[in-house]
Point group: D2
Chain length 337, copies 4
């Protein structure tokens, strides 16, 4: 931690800051510039966090040096890989396609879509049984019945299942059916839920909050890791900006930036970022080129009848055409699909 004093800080104020730092059992190293004093604070990370030195008189700014995430941070061990069912995600694994409808709507719907996406190359099935919806009057999901349909579709196709958990109280029920727990964009800052999924035996797919920084996302992963669950996958799914041409702005730079900071797998959901089916193929190709370890793509066999988000899902036909192109881009950067 570095403390920068105000240009007009008095010697007394500076001394008081240094004394406080030393009272905390930390070391203080002082550099005097022409107008400001810089105090390097050295010591164990845990001690440094909670100290309100910024509130002291004479302090202009506090600059943290150590990153507050340690379990999520990339270190000498390099990239880790996470298994969802028997499918592995990670930098040294093949690129994985995670597909399915936005919501599970019926047994037939999810089985039919699961079969089709599997044939085209998807390795994991997605589908929502609990739906976070902006409006209380919108379709909220089939709940346990939806989970059952997902498990049946897995039994039929062999695809492991990822589905969203919105409430800690539903967790044990979802754990009975799913292979991976998704924490959605609107819950990335729901710290109670993060702690709960951190105690689950299932891997967690953590979506970036649509207004969360990369730093925030790392810290939310840290909550899960800190509870003992080391199987966390990070998912970029678009951030909220001033641009309104698409629903969100897909921040693909987050892929290489996250990979430089964390050992966790990083995946991309172009469907929810764009909200417009028309542009999903190009952004899927771009995500693979940027280094995404998996793509999460919505596929629906009759988008016009979908109970949620119909105009963003690819049809099975368009998806089937896209897969070989994704495969070619993966090969171009030295990976397989």
């Amino acid at each position: 931690m570095i403390v920068i004093t105000q240009p007009n800080a008095t010697e007394e104020q500076i001394e008081r800051i240094v004394t406080r730092v030393r009272e905390f059992g930390l070391e203080a190293q002082i550099s005097r510039g022409a107008s400001r004093v810089i105090i390097g604070v050295i010591g164990p990370e845990a001690l440094l966090r909670e100290k309100p030195i910024a509130a002291m008189a004479g302090v202009e700014a506090i600059i943290p040096v150590l990153k507050p995430y340690k379990l999520a941070a990339r270190d000498s061990r390099g990239a880790s890989s996470v298994a969802i069912g028997d499918v592995r995600l990670g930098e040294h694994e093949d690129v994985v396609l995670i597909c399915g409808p936005c919501s599970v709507e019926s047994r037939e719907q999810i089985q039919s879509i699961a079969t089709m996406v599997k044939e085209s190359g998807a390795k994991i099935l997605r589908g929502g049984a609990f739906k976070p919806r902006t409006s209380p009057y919108s379709f909220q999901g089939l709940r346990e019945e939806g989970l059952r349909f997902l498990a049946e579709a897995r039994a039929k196709t062999g695809l492991p299942v990822v589905t969203e958990v919105m409430d800690a109280r539903d967790l044990s029920m979802i754990e009975r059916y799913a292979d991976c727990l998704q924490v959605g964009t609107r819950n990335m800052h729901n710290f109670s839920l993060l702690k709960e999924v951190g105690r689950s035996r299932l891997p967690v797919l953590l979506k970036r909050g649509f207004s969360a920084t990369i730093y925030d996302l790392m810290m939310s992963a840290e909550y899960i890791l800190n509870e003992g669950n080391s199987n966390v996958v990070l998912c970029e799914r678009g951030i909220r900006t001033f641009e309104t041409a698409a629903r969100y702005t897909l921040d693909l730079s987050a892929v290489p930036i996250l990979k430089s900071k964390t050992h966790l797998p990083v995946i991309v959901d172009p469907t929810h970022a764009l909200g417009l089916r028309e542009f999903v193929p190009q952004m899927s190709l771009a995500a693979v080129a940027a280094g995404a370890d998996a793509l999460m793509i919505e596929v629906h066999d009759s988008p016009e009848l979908a109970k949620s988000d119909g105009n963003q899902a690819l049809t099975p036909e368009i998806f089937a055409e896209l897969v070989p192109r994704l495969s070619a881009v993966a090969a171009a950067i030295g990976r397989a699909l």
Copy 2:
């Protein structure tokens, strides 16, 4: 709802859209422009919401006309008022000061601060017992002990208490101690929690998500209202933008805009928006001038020792100096403090 077709939409596509609209039991009125057809869809709101017409071929855009919030919407009845303990908040009530520390840290701390802010003019006590923190390694609150200290401070000062609920499973415990439930900015989209507080007998102070639009905030209020709890107070507390000079950008325009759209009381939290004590007084004055029905201001008697957010809290002395100025601005716009 208005459907606008693409310039090159075929007659067949247009007919198919109109047929679909009518199958839903809705009326379709067609206007033909030089290059596009505009289809006005008329009928009961509930029917219109879930219809995925946007996914149909030939559709360029769908424009909703009716607002999807109905319980939160302002109508002929005008502004409502909400009671927290025996203090009323609303457009036709006095402007209220809600003060206290960020976190409850000890019995002495909360009692001492409660006494001081009451003397200066605060009418409601705030203090966190459950703290949402970006880092799992930061202080997470005293939990039930903190709630007990808050209740004791209320017994001593008579100030009703507002405190944050982060997890539906803590709700019944918090209800035993508090007079008002706060839903924090990071939970504004936690729909499970919104539904739970919607079933509480206590009023709810709903903070705007830091990246939620005014529309989103109205929809989250609708979740609570729809469960039967009509005592909802909306709180502007800063949004995330590109500007980094303060922690968030306080969106004071949200005050008059919300008041034009909803009957619910609208209050402002300048402390969390700015994150810098230095500018809290001016923005408090501005919030009252903009029409806020209450201000939520953090006050701490020794900010340098605070366990969270020390450098944003006002000292009791600065707060005491601010109150008469707030009172004067309130009077200038025809209100009392």
Copy 3:
């Protein structure tokens, strides 16, 4: 400037950085933490700016300590005041109202509006003769004829005139008619234009770019001041965010923040920020409470017929009703209108 090394920086890299710093004639002070080395670089500001130390191997981050604006910075001399015609703007002056239509449309229009706003209390007349418009097909202003009408309105009412300059080549013409040059939000980063108005004898009203940080605005002011023109007024006029309920998000916190950093007068334009006449009165009151030294408010006598931005202008009647309330808020914070 502080250089923070990467955790794995080698001794050789650190030595190379220190050597480079010293080659530049600067002093380097080294603090060693557990995992990183912190190098304090001390020396004359000008030398530090252009040195690409950040590009050196082993460097994690460079943190500037000195602010790069020096002429705009607040120092021991406190707030300055700027004269537009015979009207003074500044922290120690009365709050000033700058009013008029968006565009000058005709001699009658500008004279009529000027007369009405003067009667209600405006002290400076605004009106555009050169209009920056997003579309090339929109009305672009009356140009020199518009300037002439403005000068005639000044002759009739005595109100000094502020008008926008979009192109350095129009500057000498505009200088013949106006009392103050406005640089608009879309030109805040037009460094050529900033230098030109920096050489003018007229004061400059510099609008914040709608996506400029407070820091950027200070730097653009520095361009003007650096050319010798010390009469610069800064204007907050809304920034672009994700919120779409109003045209821009008025960042009123910028007022006290700017005042803490610069000696220049700071004013607010609520009209262009909101783009909606309905909310201009409340935000005008809030701007005065936040400490604005002047307000820029659009007034049009027949908004329905305005050639630009008709639905944001106040009518003269609404403006006349607003003035005494602005006056009361100013008095509440110890200022006069």
Copy 4:
């Protein structure tokens, strides 16, 4: 254009709106819903633009239907291609690499870099002679000398030259040396400059303003096209958001979205978007996969000594390694480099 009335609009107000519309020579078609009236306004685009109907009593919203860009809009003719020197950019052309340093610093520097990037596969040379810098104290470019060095580098390597124009008064000088005029991100809204380059015989590379919407970018292109210059290339270069991990957020979705709306070539500048050399390779690959028609990449032979933006430029070695991977991704989507 569609006019939506307020729920409580009176019959008189509706009639007044309809009358006004018809006075303008336009047709009005009325649809009555349960609570609002929808008025479809039909007629020539030019007439509709300037009519301030939104300011009329009883109007809730105005929704434009026709897009105000017509020259930039994609139509039945499909994609166009633009020649810079003898290199063609466009959807049906090869993907082009535009490389060089941020600033021209000396004859030797630009010749050496030009030679190296040409050998690796670049087809166009970039380099700034006039530099827009946030600070007036930063290096502002070599001006005409820089242009001369660029022209000499072209003579030596055969690479056509693109360089930035910041001021209309420099235009004729720049035209004597360059093959393509760049309008930078900070001048995208400088309408005077847009009109001037619209009258040039040279093609224009128009960079997206860092806070400009896709719509704004199209409108700025329209300014140039409307003056008669049909050779416009659009460049995505990052937008300003809340994320601070990179300098800007590269909005790659803008590539397919722009291509769906305009016939103009669309290119990407990952260097300025990221501001961090480390992530430029991955985002260059992603940009090609997203469909970019060219990439603009900064290359500097000794970034540590660069006079501007040293820590974002690739070294010639890293660039040389990147080119075959770009080529492979281009091939994967059916294009050549």
